[in-house]
Symmetry: C2
Subunit: 126 residues, 2 copies
DNA sequence: CCGAATCCACAACGATACTG
DNA sequence: CAGTATCGTTGTGGATTCGG
């Protein structure tokens, strides 16, 4: 019983830890720049400057910041070619590929309901 | 030919408009609170206060703000019961249900790669 | 119970300049 | 070309209060 209680509390602690971690990951990854980066890298490896061109409106700073974050969470792999000028390439890891389906799903959803949403907005704004 | 040119430019304009709208929707919806709200409403209608309890750490303000935004975009329907005290219920529309799959996918992904991510973080932070 | 408005601390972001 | 650092501005988000 004591064992069970102990086991129980350990499991609870683990669950709590896992939950807070999950929440943290959610906060990191569920933002528009991260999604757009993943979407862009979905088709293959890209250089920093290529990403910058691909994703309209993203600043140098936001791109580096989000790439670091995605790298830290293991969604993106960064490889530096020690040439001159330097060449840095980014590619999705397996985990990153795993999220691609989600992001693609959201893109599809957006286009599917575009008209719907536009209409709803007009109604609401009146 | 003129017609074709005209048609062409109209289509281009439409595409541009659609793209910027899509981007706008992305900016609105691809944030953690919106996702957590959709996830919570996935199981059925909830009151404001129930949502507040369900979603740990969300402030009164963030909840109202995001609910308005989701309502404006037609993902959530808001129904007020004119009782006293007032009772306000939120429920997913068809469009909202459409996003549910995406959000669920992300939740599943998070739990699937939790260990992966934790390890990657430890590596990176060294 | 729900929502809107106010105030304010602090984080996000863009621009710029500098390094390898 | 890619990354870091700094600075100034804007905006976000929490706490609180008042109103329906």
């Amino acid at each position: 019983m004591v064992t069970k209680q102990l086991r129980g509390s350990v499991d609870d602690a683990d669950l709590l830890r896992a939950d807070s971690l999950a929440r943290e990951i959610f906060s990191d990854v569920a933002n528009k720049w991260a999604f757009l980066i993943i979407e862009s890298l979905g088709e293959g490896t890209l250089r920093f400057s290529e990403l910058r061109n691909e994703i309209e409106g993203i600043s140098h700073k936001m791109l580096t910041q989000n790439l670091r974050m995605l790298e830290r969470n293991g969604l993106v792999e960064r490889t530096v070619h020690p040439t001159v000028p330097p060449r840095v390439e980014y590619t999705l890891t397996e985990a990153g590929q795993g999220l691609r389906a989600t992001v693609d799903g959201m893109c599809a959803w957006t286009h599917r309901y575009l008209g719907h949403i536009e209409a709803s907005r007009r109604r609401f704004d009146a």
